[in-house]
């Protein structure tokens, strides 16, 4: 390529070089094959079946009748189904935005802390909820929120007894109450990720801004947050997925009640398919949820990438 008259030896080498990647490619695919088969059987095939079910009216046992897009239309028009999606988006505030905001603050405070043991203890304590099964967290919080539970007890002790209520059974507070459980769970994950990221920010930046007279908040705004852009994107992605597909916490603490106040798509899908035997309708909602998750994840990835470069 470099000289117009290539020597035979060079030509042979070039041919070998161009043949090599192709042989490599085939053996590479061989290594990927087992995972691809597992992925196909346990992810793609069920997904495809779900899409297929969603176009039928089927009770799971009897004969399925083709119903076209009727199931999808109902997702958009039926108040109960539509509300469940709206609730999932409300939960993003609690499962994603709130923990990330608090975790940014915690990570910045941890960075300033002198004592090594202090930071370790704080990180471990805040991470505990991540280690627990979500079902256990749900039960612990159901007790917290109950009429005679610790939250109302503390409110009473503070002289705010008027505010006491059965938090998860109250129509206005049920959804935020469930959301707070999610905040409690997600915080540890965000703290660990963000404080690891903060360690990668060049300390010289902090020194330079400090010499220029920047206060804590200015450093936080102009060094910490821009420096954590990619970590924040990861946090947003993971926690948003967990908000949209939340099942365990909601099912254990309220199972959608009171009324329809905390119904989320995952619980609704479970109810439709396994309790009401409306497999087609449940599948349609599942497909809508999957598409929503993919769309939002794609969007977040794009935002994270353009901002990075």
């Amino acid at each position: 390529m470099s000289s117009p008259v290539a020597s035979p030896r060079r030509a042979a080498r070039a041919a070998a070089a161009s043949r090599r990647p192709r042989r490599r490619a085939w053996s590479g695919l061989l290594w990927v094959l087992p995972a691809a088969v597992a992925y196909g059987t346990f992810v793609l095939y069920p997904l495809w079946e779900t899409v297929r079910y969603s176009f039928f009216d089927w009770d799971g046992i009897g004969v399925a009748t083709f119903s076209g897009a009727a199931n999808y239309l109902r997702v958009l028009t039926d108040d109960e189904l539509r509300l469940s999606i709206v609730h999932a988006f409300v939960l993003i505030v609690f499962f994603s935005f709130l923990p990330i905001l608090v975790a940014l603050f915690v990570a910045a405070v941890l960075r300033d802390m002198r004592s090594r043991t202090g930071t370790t203890v704080a990180r471990v304590v805040l991470f505990i909820p991540q280690v627990l099964p979500l079902v256990a967290s749900g039960i612990a919080w159901t007790w917290m929120y109950s009429t005679t539970g610790p939250i109302n007890q503390v409110l009473g002790a503070l002289g705010l007894g008027d505010l006491a209520r059965p938090w998860l059974a109250d129509f206005t507070t049920a959804l935020p109450a469930v959301g707070i459980i999610g905040t409690w769970v997600a915080l540890g994950f965000c703290v660990v990720l963000l404080s690891a990221g903060i360690g990668n920010i060049d300390p010289a930046l902090y020194e330079a801004t400090a010499l220029d007279g920047a206060g804590w908040w200015q450093q936080f705004r102009h060094v910490t947050i821009p420096g954590l852009r990619s970590e924040i994107t990861i946090c947003l992605t993971v926690t948003t997925i967990s908000a949209l597909s939340s099942f365990d916490l909601v099912y254990v603490s309220t199972s959608g009640g009171p009324g329809y106040q905390t119904m989320v798509p995952a619980v609704e899908i479970y109810r439709l398919v396994f309790i009401e035997n409306r497999v087609g309708q449940g599948s349609a909602l599942a497909v809508v949820l999957t598409v929503l998750v993919l769309l939002i994840v794609g969007l977040l990835q794009r935002i994270g990438r353009t901002d990075e470069s």
Binding site: R24, W26, W31, Y39, V43, L126, W216
Partner: protein
């Protein structure tokens, strides 16, 4: 002077946050130690903690069989998924066959 006072108040906030985090767990523990058949009010350390509740729960929930099932799942899932993922990771990262990027993207979303 002001800076150190601010740092102190931020540390206090952090401590409060940690307390809020463990509070639900402590309240669960305190209600686990209450005498059987009572409904506890709020969070309170029982005068005589009923540690035997844990033994009772262990037996009532048939914990051993459940735990064995979990162990079986772990023994199956962990080695298998680790092996498959290691193979695929090696194949994708070292040998770079065609379509590597789209494959990696789609399997991480699944």
């Amino acid at each position: 002077m002001r800076a150190s006072r601010d740092a102190a108040s931020r540390t206090v906030l952090l401590v409060v946050l940690c307390l809020v985090t463990v509070f639900p767990l402590l309240s669960m523990l305190s209600s686990a130690l209450q005498p059987e058949g009572t409904v506890p009010v709020g969070i309170s350390w029982p005068t005589d903690p009923h540690w035997e509740n844990f033994v009772l729960a262990w037996e009532a929930a048939h914990f051993w069989p459940l735990l064995i099932s979990s162990v079986l799942i772990v023994l199956g899932v962990v080695p298998l998924s680790l092996a498959l993922a290691t193979f695929a990771g090696y194949g994708l990262a070292m040998l770079r066959p065609k379509g590597t990027r789209s494959w990696a993207r789609s399997s991480s979303s699944g």
